[in-house]
Amino acid sequence: MKRVASILALTLVCVGCSDNPKTDAAGPSDAPTGQILINGAGATFPYPIYSKWFDQYHRLFPQIQMNYQSIGSGGGIRQVIEGTVDFGATDSPMTDAQLTGAKTKILHFPTVLGAVVPAYNIPGISEEINFTPEALAGIFLGKITKWNDPELKRVNAALNLPNKGIVVVHRSDGSGTTYVWTDYLAKVNPEWKSKVGINTSVNWPAGLGGKGNEGVAGLIKQTPYSIGYLEFIYAIHNKMAYGKVRNSADNFVKAELASVAAAAARVVKTIPADFRVSITNAPGHDSYPISSFTWLLIPSKIPDPAKKQAMTDFLHWMLDDGQEMVETLAYARLPKELVDMEQKAIASIE
């Protein structure tokens, strides 16, 4: 029994002392080894390129360790507002209300470009289907319900579209992909704007929901005559059939690195100073209309000088050498003018 009591006492002591390391852990960058630890969290869409960047950067500068948790854009915004991470990442720019709610001013830095594509599964049709903005909005509003609807047949004269009901598939989880998709539909269709709106998750007028890109892709593959939207990269890696979309210059464009980059290049001249801009439905003959930036969220005041130095160094590197790596992972790189603007903006971090 004495033994039991002593074990008990020991555990109590242990419970007591476990409080201390926790307070130490708050400032690992102050560790005597000179290691600088930078924590970030946010969007899942750029996770592959971010993890590659952070890994490469750590190899170049072993004393700098950047951790990134891909918990979703919403979580990234929340954590950077509360200041529990050193930087955040998001696929949808922060709203004015969110920016004013933050303790320090938050800066947006576009990192790479992505796109969203309409993917479908129609037995017997392997060709690319042309989609007008009206057709996409009509389908996702639940108004165009057959594959041989006149709106679809009009621009796909060569295809024998079947007289079958359309099964609409959308994301069920909140997602930056949904934000880009609804942002596009709201720009091209006033009814979508007033009835559904723009958000990371919305009240869908029609269809089935799948969790994540893999969930939507699974639903499309398993359901004949279905259509959904996927991240461009995911559609490519999984060889999903996806269609062309008519852009604002009345040209049917397929999502490709070049057409996505073209959309960004067209918008660069009018980009606001804080880089919060939507590039869906961009002008230009060869712009893919459902393209988007993804952003790093950096506080404008970083009190720890070592951390500040590491963060700004990384941003410069990301805009320079980092951009050389993005295309191997099927992200489109930033236009040259934008890179120059961002290089200048880094100086505003204090």
Partner: protein, 326 residues
Amino acid sequence: MQPTTTATDRADARRRAPAFARQMQNGDRIAHFTTFIFAGTIILITVFLFYELYASSYLTREKFGWRFLTGTTWDPVALEFGALPFIYGTLVTSILALIIGVPLGVGAAIFLAELAPMGISAVLAFIIELLAAVPSVIYGLLAIFTLVPFLRDYIAPVLESALGFLPLFQGASYGFSLLAGGCILAIMILPFIISISREVLLAVPRDQREASLALGATRWETAWHIAVPNAKAGIMGSIFLALARALGETMAVTMVIGNAPRINLSLFAPGYSIAAAIANEFSEATSNMHISALIELGFVLFCITILVNAVARLLILTTTRKGAVV
């Protein structure tokens, strides 16, 4: 007079007791105290959970009140939240799971405990317990690739042609539906029902069975009229444990249910469950109202499980009392 004598006796004993025994008494007190703390922690955690869910959902509770439970719109853009489609989906899939799972599970348990040779029974029981350890995401994946197409191509047409006059079996079937959610839940709760029911049936005293057989009953009659009524409370317990699991299951359900927050009588239509909605939307919920709505959904699910557990207790109480009378 008596109390004083015992008191003096005890005092005597204590004086005479060796140091060893005194320590034993001391150890007892420590054990009592520690286990009491452990038990108390559980209650504290439950109370804390309840309070935290209630407190963190004050935004939506204030804005919508009871309307939250009856509203059918879930619109994160317009910040209009109603939980009824989720409550409906959760209850329908869970009840469906019980309708399919209980006869199968209890039947299998009766076979394993009463009729099967002991060797086969032990091997099968082991395999069934393995099934309970399979992660739910695996069940979900299997369901997407096998169960959903099977339901869509074979089961739904048969149900529609045979029972199509009922609103339950009407409309287009995509496979991803309340029916698929119910089926995958039924498969997932089977191991719980079977293994617990089998253990309970095996615990029925041997004398009871021998008496029944001696009176000329067949093995089946013995199993159905003697063993099952004896084990009723335990079997009910296993069913309610299964129901609690079905109500809270998240991953497998969200993969096959279709995730559409609409109330539809047809089992072929897609639906949504509370746990699936929380898992899907929480990570990207940016507005405080949206987060509050999701937490209140969690609170509603918590209340539903408590309610189900309370009903389970009542049912077990009444059925066992009935059993004692007969």
